[in-house]
Symmetry: C2
Subunit: 299 residues, 2 copies
């Protein structure tokens, strides 16, 4: 299996689902819906939905599971997109460029961007909790998924991590704090994406533990590579301002450990992720390729 | 039954539950949790949770229903509080005073206030979807409640209404648009609060329809009275800047119809609410008193 081909086909599937589940710009709410759609369809690798699908596939090849996961995949992407919109706000990182395009508040104003984020976050839970009588997912499974996503996205996860990140700008802090910020701000939702797939496919407790460890390691690898790219890639390659972590006085892995050691730690996390699922059969191949892919992005 | 006594006793019960369900400020997320708690515990009449409890009580006197509703009551209050924090932001209504105290962004900064709101919104769904094995609410009931709350709070409800409100500032628009803004920005979550109680108490379809109509009318009355108070009350009475609707160029009922006609429309909505539940027995007495109370606030 070619990872690029796999990613492209899954990305297309996720984007078709987003098109299906996202509201159309209808009056009188047209402008607000446009603001949400703008950032949701501004590109993006759809890594969280793809991790969710790949994790479920590892346990169950029933195509109904993948189909019924689509609203949840879209919810994960809504939450990720809302977090980018709010992070880019002038009161936060004050970024003008994201994925090579003007950020949401540049086009829709600050109020419009705050509300686009609020709308996407709320829509995520509407999608997860929507009654779908034909779904193979039970109410208990959906409820569990909504709960774990809320926890990962909330004050002890993504939102809390962003609060820590902002509070520590231009300050000296220990390496452990950087790890806490990464784990909560980025890691929690990536781990939750894998967790959603495992719950939807009714993983047993041993499978679940292995997948969660995979999710933790892949989340870590992802963030370390992001830090690395912010230092080594150009603005054109990133689609956002390169080197802005340093400008904003943010600590990063390379600032603490240097580029070599950061690269080594990324490889270590990728190995850890693959090791966690070593006992799984060939159905786990997409997860293994995804782990390699995360590292390959770094060079 | 005295309405003041009823409101006080329910308010106390809701605040005890908030104290139980809200996270404590634990490191490293202490400052962020403090920001959420500040606005949640800055006062407030707790009308949405009380409407939810009163609606459930109308159908079922089983004390377990009221107990199991408490996380949902807290979720409604979290969503209401988050909406106030984001509405008060400099990019939105730019208010310094709320409930007689400095607004969230005055104390915690803009980024802190945006994230406190995001955290409260996310926490609401964590509370509704939390697994509680001892609860009398089924997974299907919880899921339905999470879904209807998300819909009411989202882009075709509260968030969409706020987007319309901001987009129409200092503009001329027809009276129908004012009604749409009110219905989505304020009415939807109030109606949803009643709806949550009805679902939790397993209302039949006839009871549900009556309660929803009550919810729609009470939501309308509530917003009309708010408009009226913004014109007629003092800043000390309101706990926020009196007359700021006019300063911000916002259309209001009094601006369209004058104070007399606005007052008449508030009375009409209150009668409509009571009429919707006319067939209910004495268990609906709290809902009737709440309807009268909404009007009494206006003078």
């Amino acid at each position: 299996m070619e990872i690029k081909e796999y990613l492209n086909s899954k990305k297309q599937r996720v984007e078709e689902a987003l098109e299906r589940y996202m509201p159309k710009p209808t009056e009188p709410f047209g402008q607000h819906i446009e603001a949400m759609r703008y950032s949701l369809f501004a590109g993006g690798k759809r890594i969280r939905p793809i991790l969710c699908l790949a994790a479920a596939k590892t346990i169950s090849e029933d195509p109904a599971v993948a189909t019924d996961l689509m609203p949840i995949c879209c919810a994960l992407e809504c939450i990720h997109t809302y977090s980018l919109i709010h992070d880019d706000l002038p009161a936060m990182d004050d970024d003008d460029l994201r994925r090579g395009k003007p950020t949401n508040h540049i086009l829709f104003g600050e109020a419009g961007a705050i509300l686009a984020g609020d709308g996407l976050l709320t829509l995520a839970f509407e999608l997860i909790c929507s009654a779908d009588d034909g779904s193979s997912l039970s109410s208990a499974q959906r409820l569990k998924i909504a709960h774990l996503v809320a926890k990962a996205a909330g004050s002890f996860g993504m939102v809390g991590g962003q609060a820590l990140d902002i509070a520590h700008e231009k300050q000296d802090y220990p390496f452990e704090m950087l790890q806490t910020i990464h784990r909560s701000k980025t890691g929690a939702l990536i781990t939750a994406s894998v967790h959603c797939g495992a719950v939807a496919a009714s993983a047993n407790s041993q499978q679940l533990e292995a997948l969660l460890e995979y999710g933790r390691q892949i989340g870590l690898a992802f963030q370390i590579v992001d830090d690395l790219l912010n230092v080594t890639a150009t603005t054109a390659q990133l689609g956002k301002q390169a080197g802005n972590d340093e400008v904003q006085g943010k600590a990063t892995y390379p600032a603490f450990c240097g580029i070599e050691e950061t690269s080594r730690r990324a490889r270590l996390a990728v190995s850890g992720a693959k090791e966690a699922i070593a006992d799984f059969d060939s159905k786990a191949e997409p997860l293994r390729l995804l782990a390699d892919y995360v590292y390959e992005r770094s060079h």
